[in-house]
């Protein structure tokens, strides 16, 4: 799978990211770093512990990274979760479907990036 195919598969915008980051090499380098990023683990752990502030920051970080790498699908779901978590002090059931979507998109994104290797 090349970079363009990877973006198509994970619901990202290859043209956009290429126009900003300029080379496939750089895009690939930073996609691989997503594999090492701990924000997703932090997000699930914080939500399990009902640590809302930490969870907000983790979701926010995922959103920011996706924005930078134009991983549109995961950006959209993590953005929704971020906005739901903003200023929240208590856990609620409304968070669950949003988290589920982020989990699904995150898994897809990781699979696609791994397929690049």
């Amino acid at each position: 799978m090349n970079v363009r195919e990877c973006y198509a598969a994970m619901g990202g915008n290859y043209d956009e990211v290429f126009s900003r980051l300029r080379t496939d090499e750089r895009i690939t380098k930073f996609l691989f770093r997503v594999l090492e990023d701990k924000s997703f683990d932090l997000l699930t752990e914080s939500l399990a512990a009902h640590n809302m502030e930490e969870a907000f920051r983790a979701a926010h970080t995922i959103k920011g990274v996706c924005m930078n790498l134009a991983i549109t699908k995961l950006f959209e779901s993590s953005n929704k979760l971020t906005e739901t978590l903003r200023g929240r002090s208590e856990y609620g059931e409304d968070i669950e479907p949003l988290l589920a979507q982020v989990k699904e998109d995150y898994a897809l994104t990781l699979d696609c990036i791994r397929a690049l290797q």
Partner: protein
């Protein structure tokens, strides 16, 4: 600085984002990274002068971007380090708040390589340019000012040297003029003068007597009174001085020249119109001339001249106010009264050395030294070099050197120091840092902070002795530190530097020596001197609160035991007695060997001392090998007792004497019937 890339600090909690930005910028800049606001502040503290620009995220753990901006404002860093926000937050209120707090630009996500490079570079260039321009400008202004006042000083000194005056007069008139004008501005807005005007008038004041250069020296330096003709000649110095300035072919329109003209011509006018040369009245006399006039008179009165002695400042002011030295603007007289005290101080500070030729040469040197656009870059280099030296010296010295920074609170240790204490080099928020707390007890840390904050800029050094846990061992350490106070008018506590010195061995040696001095070497019990001190103290501290018994005894037939079984055996008996005492008293009781075969036990009791005494007596009088141990013990109780140790001692002694008289090997309590023997048995 050349050849070194400029440093940029990237603050973002996402490592990936930092890496992305670093990747885009590392060709042109050196990158420093921080993953939260607290780390950023730490790096700023250390590299303040080297960081050219900062990229700052908003949402971060520990300390967020807004807090960083707020703190940078507080520390004045926001003016010297441009900050570009890089948050994924795009809400207008977020951006506004960042701008309000002093951020200069905003790069929104997603990061676009060209945008990032362009914004960073252009903002960077802008600030660098601004800084270089302002540096250059201020240096030029500074030089021009220096040149101006240097020329004026030279000119006026020529006049004064010819006049036989010291040269201090010009400087004094300058200071008095400046202070009067500043006070005048505080009082009224009648004369619209800017700070620049005040400086200009003060500078021009030096010219007031240049006309004297045209006055023949036999008149100028005449010690006695002037004849009316001479006075007329003398008066001409006003007009002549003004004419000299008016005759300058170029730059006639310079403010300095204009003001100089006013001062020269009219500094002998009087507010009532009876002065010379023009007889101007009231505010027809330019304010510059009015002020210099009063300054001239004041300094003339308070200085020694060839024709008069110096007059004391208070008396001089009285004379001026009383109209003995001319008529002045009442407002200015008020100002003079207001600044009277400050004036005394100020004029006493202007030293003679400042006015000599050497002083001028120094000024020139200083001007030359400070010129050139490299000056500010060089000062940064100097600071860097100082820090390098400090770091090297602290690393090689085998001492625990530390720096305490009040805001954000952190401790920074020398490399060796951190290693010795087993903590990191940098400890943020030490009061809550587990590694730090495990070394320094929280109450000790608090105690130290209290001490250092209580210090003053005049007496900033404090010391303290603390038991620290180093490498799993409790060790005594001495902390010596110097508080760092800001240099503003109300200095604020900024932190401290200091070192931690291991005094454990020293303390242990001292303790051993103290122990040695207090104890009897044969038995290890306290000696009489030490015991006396401790018992006296206990009696004093617990007077009326606690009950104490003092039991004194000696070993019956000890001399005989010595004679029959030998001295070595005698020693063994004494050691055995000491052991028996130790085994039968509590840790709060005191066992003493007075000397020879005499011992004392001092102990607290609740209702009655009898049971304790009885038990101890029984344990003492157990047979030791072939020797039947017997003791004669006298006991004195300190109950409702108001006496000192001596009294108690004598009471016990009297009781012991009674036991001996009644056939030994027993104990007995002191009663009032024994009063007759008090203090007599040992005479």
């Amino acid at each position: 600085m050349r050849g070194n890339k400029r440093k940029i600090l990237i603050v973002d909690d996402s490592e990936l984002n930092r890496a992305l930005l670093a990747d885009m910028l590392s060709d042109r800049f050196d990158i420093l990274e921080a993953e939260n606001g607290m780390e950023a502040m730490t790096i700023l503290h250390e590299h303040e002068l080297e960081i050219s620009l900062m990229l700052l995220d908003i949402v971060m753990p520990v300390m967020d971007g807004f807090d960083v901006l707020a703190m940078m404002n507080q520390k004045g860093l926001i003016k010297s380090i441009p900050v570009i926000m890089i948050s994924a937050e795009t809400g207008g209120s977020y951006i506004d708040r960042a701008y309000d707090l002093g951020a200069i630009d905003y790069i929104s996500r997603p990061f676009d390589e060209r945008t990032v490079i362009h914004r960073v570079t252009s903002n960077f260039m802008l600030t660098v340019k601004q800084k270089e321009m302002s540096d250059m400008l201020s240096e030029q202004i500074y030089e021009k000012e220096k040149d101006n006042s240097l020329m004026i000083e030279v000119l006026s000194h020529i006049v004064e040297f010819r006049n036989g005056e010291s040269g201090l007069h010009v400087l004094h008139v300058h200071s008095i003029t400046e202070m009067l004008l500043e006070q005048l501005m505080k009082k009224t807005d009648k004369y619209p003068l800017s700070v620049k005007d005040i400086r200009m008038i003060s500078n021009a004041s030096a010219l007031h007597d240049i006309g004297k250069i045209t006055i023949p020296s036999e008149v100028l330096n005449k010690p006695g009174r002037f004849t009316p003709e001479e006075f007329e000649i003398m008066k001409r110095h006003t007009v002549e001085g003004a004419k000299m300035l008016d005759d300058i072919p170029f730059r006639k329109n310079e403010l300095l020249v204009k003001i100089g003209y006013q001062i020269c011509r009219w500094h002998h006018e009087r507010y009532d119109g009876r002065g010379y040369p023009d007889g101007l009245k009231g505010d027809d006399i330019p304010i510059a001339a009015q002020v210099v006039s009063i300054a001239d008179v004041y300094d003339a009165l308070t200085s020694e001249r060839c024709y008069k002695k110096a007059i004391d400042p208070d008396a001089a002011i009285k004379m001026i106010l009383g109209g003995e030295c001319g008529a002045f603007n009442p407002l200015l007289l008020e100002c003079l009264t207001d600044i009277a005290e400050a004036l005394k101080k100020e004029l006493s500070l202007i030293s003679f050395g400042h006015a000599t030729e050497g002083g001028i040469r120094d000024t020139v040197k200083e001007v030359l030294k400070n010129s050139g656009p490299e000056a500010s870059a060089r000062s940064i280099k100097l600071v860097e070099r100082e820090r390098m030296k400090y770091k090297f010296l602290s690393d090689i010295s085998r001492e625990i050197i530390f720096e305490y920074i009040a805001m954000p609170e952190m401790i920074q240790l020398s490399e060796w120091g951190a290693e010795t204490l087993g903590v990191p080099i940098k400890i943020i928020n030490p009061a809550e840092n587990e590694q730090w707390i495990s070394v320094v007890a929280p109450e000790d840390y608090r105690d130290f902070l209290e001490k250092i904050k209580k210090s003053t800029p005049e007496n900033p050094v404090v010391t303290g002795k603390y038991l620290m846990n180093i490498g799993g061992e409790k060790k005594w350490n001495k902390v010596i530190a110097k508080a760092l106070w800001g240099d503003s008018e109300n200095p604020e506590f900024e932190g401290a530097i200091g070192k931690i010195v291991d005094i454990n061995d020293e303390t242990a040696a001292m303790e051993y020596l103290e122990q040695q001095a207090e104890h009897d070497s044969r038995t290890g019990l306290l000696n009489h001197n030490a015991a006396k001190k401790r018992i006296s103290q206990l009696l004093y501290e617990n007077k009326g609160k606690k009950r104490y018994a003092l039991a004194m005894f000696d070993v019956d037939n000890f001399k005989q035991a010595n004679d029959v079984y030998g001295h070595l055996f005698g020693d063994e008996v004494l050691e055995e007695i000491a052991n028996r005492i130790r085994e039968n008293i509590r840790s709060t009781d005191i066992g003493v060997r007075m000397g020879g075969d005499e011992f004392i036990i001092f102990m607290e009791y609740k209702d009655s001392a009898e049971p304790q005494i009885k038990r101890i007596f029984e344990h003492l009088t157990v047979k030791f090998r072939q020797f039947d141990v017997g003791v004669s013990m006298g006991v004195a109780c300190a109950e409702n007792f108001d006496g000192d140790y001596e009294t108690l001692f004598n009471m016990a002694d009297a009781a012991m004497y009674t036991v001996k008289r009644n056939g030994k090997n027993s104990y007995c309590f002191y009663t009032d019937e024994m009063r007759d023997c008090l203090g007599k048995t040992r005479q």
